[in-house]
Amino acid sequence: MRHEQHPLNADRASIMTAAKTDEPLVRCENIWKTRGQNLVLKGVNLQARKGEVVCLLGPSGAGKSTLLRCINAIELADRGLVHVDGVPIGCALRNGSHVRLSESQLSRQRADIGMVFQNFNLFPHMSVLSNIIDAPMRIRRETRAVATNRAYELLRKVGLLDKAGAYPRHLSGGQQQRIAIARALAMQPKLMLFDEPTSALDPHLTDEVLDVIKELAATGMTMIIVTHEIQFARDVADTAAVMSDGAIIEIGPARDVLSRPTDPRTRTFLARSLPDHQQQAV
């Protein structure tokens, strides 16, 4: 019998206690990226220690998604290095220069990093169970029995045990996003990236997804979360970083950044994002 102290991801919980260490798991150093004519990232630095939850905020178009996608090598930066667990992502050092990895080497690196998308991106032609067990079986070479067992465990934890046989199209947005989180966790990632996980949801469905993420934070999972939910960021984040126009304009302990922002752009952004009564409650 497993312990119930960590509702999600109990396997890892025994290895990684909720205590945060000083060792950075993610280190983005001086990341530059252009897309077409636009300079999208302008020398971004960001770190996340093991077990740390970093919330990334900022107006749309600031470059948050691009930064997240550079961390798991869906996109590659033009300049600057991302390290995850001490390993450079997307390139290898050869003869003193950083050379881009091949697509199949990249996929090996991506397998250790979970990502949750704004639009869920479940595979519509596969049942919920197949969505979850496909990658562990194919990439981790797990047997169907092992993968299925973990899938049911995860489905129970996201509260959708009865949906294993359903197809994504017949689920609500909130349910789909919880399945997407279970699918990412099934690969037992070291790091989870969330790109606006509740932005495509009706307001009454956001809480069921945010609750799952909060529980995950309690297990000591390292997470970088792009979100517009300020109250959620306050609850869950250790560190908050605010991006604007391709740069991080403010970063620090979440309480400080979200309650007493120093940069005027942060203040404007927070004022727009928060309903009045929440601002007074700070």
Binding site: N72, I74, R110, D112, F123, H125, R138, I139, R169
Partner: protein, 298 residues
């Protein structure tokens, strides 16, 4: 206030008989249509039964003739192989076209441009007469380098090879466009999610993107197969013994042209009907996950 006895306080009527029923007006146009279609069909049946020119006894005699059956077998075989070749070429060319690599995109464009732009009849005859252009087929270094392997083209290019090359390359060009449209219909987020899970590129293509593209690829491909089944009759110009050529050979001897053309037509109709049924089941298979009403929440 409950002014109406049939209405309760929540605003819901309980008495269905009080609600006026909506009646459809009589469809005069449809009746005229039925009479017209019925007349035309009666005339066709009457002609088929009474016009001696159809010579149904001759049709019956040749319908299961060994020569005709051999032609049917060749038609089926050629259709199947041409479609498989076309499908494989189509996938490769479509992937090249979408690869983002300028050289591959150029090659894909050039292929589609050439093989879609020249008549199949010309290509068939060209391949069949390849020996005139290249007396020998050789593998080696071009521009006068050493040769590793050589056979005379007249031996290498049979009627079947010529038909396969002519029809297959042309079909590949059309299939490339059909497959490309299918691949583009799949949301970008799908391959992104697959990549993010750590899947290799070929897995992302075969297991995630292509099965979803199939929903858009299967109906026009079914159309292509049915078209190809009949289009193989063009291979009779290079003397390939398929269905059309087999009846041609018979009526050139006995001059029973109309009944033998009917034999061919009946066979084509029969085969196309079977293909249509197969297409229905394949379409059903690839719409998995899309069935049922679209009633999801947010």
């Amino acid at each position: 206030m409950n002014a109406h006895p049939a209405m309760d306080t929540t605003g819901t009527s309980r008495d269905m008989s009080k609600a006026p029923e909506i009646i459809h007006p009589p469809r005069l146009g449809r009746w005229i249509g039925v009479i017209l279609v019925g007349t035309v069909m009666a005339w066709i049946v009457y002609q088929a039964l009474t016009n001696p020119g159809f010579q149904w006894d001759v049709v019956g005699r040749y319908l299961l003739d060994v020569g005709v059956l051999k032609g049917v077998a060749m038609t089926l075989q050629l259709t199947a192989i041409v479609m498989i070749v076309g499908l494989l070429i189509g996938i490769v060319v479509a992937v090249m076209r979408m690869s983002g690599d300028p050289l591959l995109i150029f090659c894909a464009h050039a292929f589609v441009w050439f093989f879609r732009g020249t008549p199949v009849l010309v290509q068939l005859v060209f391949w069949y007469n390849l020996a005139a252009l290249f007396p020998a087929i050789e593998i080696g270094i071009p521009f006068g380098g050493p040769k590793f392997f050589e056979i005379p083209a007249t031996v290498a290019i049979s009627s079947f090879t010529a038909a396969l090359l002519g029809l297959g390359l042309n079909e590949g060009a059309y299939m490339a466009e059909i497959i490309r449209a299918g691949l583009m219909s799949v949301d970008n987020g799908q391959s992104e999610a697959s990549k993010a899970l750590g899947h290799k590129p070929w897995h992302t293509f075969w297991v995630v993107v292509l099965p979803q593209a199939m929903k858009a690829i299967v109906p026009p491909t079914g159309n292509q197969v049915i078209g190809m089944l009949k289009y193989t009759s063009i291979a009779s110009v290079v003397a390939l013994y398929e269905l059309m050529h087999s009846v041609e050979l018979i009526y050139s001897r006995n001059f029973e042209i109309v009944p033998l053309l009917i034999v061919a037509a009946l066979w084509y109709l029969f085969l196309v009907s079977i293909l249509s049924v197969i297409q229905y089941f394949i379409e059903k298979h690839y719409s998995k996950g899309w069935q049922g009403q679209d009633d999801r929440g947010a």
